[in-house]
């Protein structure tokens, strides 16, 4: 039982960082079922600093 817990704990720590550039990275060719979110993802880079 300890082994899956440790495995999932390590993945929970690092998966977001490791996959970020691939899945939501700017200019990444990874597109979900032909969706287009380029507009919003660029827009959200320019929101006020105190909101970020």
């Amino acid at each position: 039982m300890t082994l899956p817990l440790i495995l999932l704990a390590i993945l929970s720590l690092y998966v977001g960082f490791l996959m970020k550039d691939m899945v939501i990275g700017f200019g990444s060719p990874f597109v979900v079922f032909g969706g287009n979110e380029l507009h919003h993802s660029i827009e959200s880079e320019f929101i006020p600093v105190w909101i970020k």
Partner: protein, 215 residues
């Protein structure tokens, strides 16, 4: 959506409840060009996230707390679909699968250790008996809360930023509701952690002394 804990881990993290989100993602060419449907999806997602988080605050069953947090995170994903961020929604689904599976398996470990007791009010002081489980729930909760540089942060923060960055009524509504939900998420995750591991024990002394990590 009830079952033995490993089954909960499977259905909440990967297969059953997230299937709706996947269906929405998969069918977006059908409804994606209808502004009304998109608006309804965004509002539904944001209110679900808020509702799930507020219900999760007041549950006393350890599995129900985690289940309502799943409900809340599904709201985040549906909202992301509603504002057109399909990649981000899939990313949150993917990340959520990892830390929610971790949380459910750890909860199973706790429930098993104190002889099938699920009530948070009858737990406490398990940190000595179950250090590995405590660490797992701590890591899972921190990832769920969106602690910077952990898994949940990258997708949740992205969804909240996109909510603000869409500059329309559902985006602003979503931004407020999701920020509040993120706060509630932090509260009920820490409440669970304190009630199970750090608070004084409210349970049977004999059960507590025999509690141990599952073999």
């Amino acid at each position: 959506m009830e079952g033995p804990t490993p089954v909960s881990a499977l259905i909440h993290a990967a297969t059953m409840v997230t299937a709706g989100v996947f269906l929405l993602l998969r069918t977006h060419p059908i409804w994606g060009s209808s502004p009304l449907v998109v608006l309804v999806i965004a509002i539904l997602g944001a209110t679900t996230a808020f509702f799930g988080a507020t219900v999760g605050l007041v549950q006393n069953d350890i599995k129900k707390v985690i289940a309502y947090s799943t409900c809340s995170q599904l709201g985040y994903m549906v909202f992301a679909i509603g504002v057109g961020a399909y990649n981000l929604s899939l990313f949150h689904l993917f990340n959520h699968a990892f830390f929610k599976a971790l949380l459910f398996l750890s909860a199973g470990s706790v429930i098993h250790a104190i002889i099938d007791e699920q009530d948070l009010r009858k737990m406490g002081a398990l940190i000595r008996q179950q250090p590995t489980t405590y660490t797992s729930i701590l890591i899972g909760s921190l990832a769920l809360m969106g602690t910077p540089f952990l898994t949940g942060f990258y997708s949740k923060d992205g969804i909240i930023e996109i909510a603000y960055g869409s500059y329309n009524i559902e985006g602003t509504l979503g931004h407020w509701l999701l920020c509040l939900s993120a706060g509630f998420t932090g509260f009920y995750s820490l409440r669970l952690l304190f009630a199970v591991f750090l608070a004084d024990s409210q349970g049977n002394r004999q059960v507590l002394t025999l509690a141990h990590e599952p073999k």
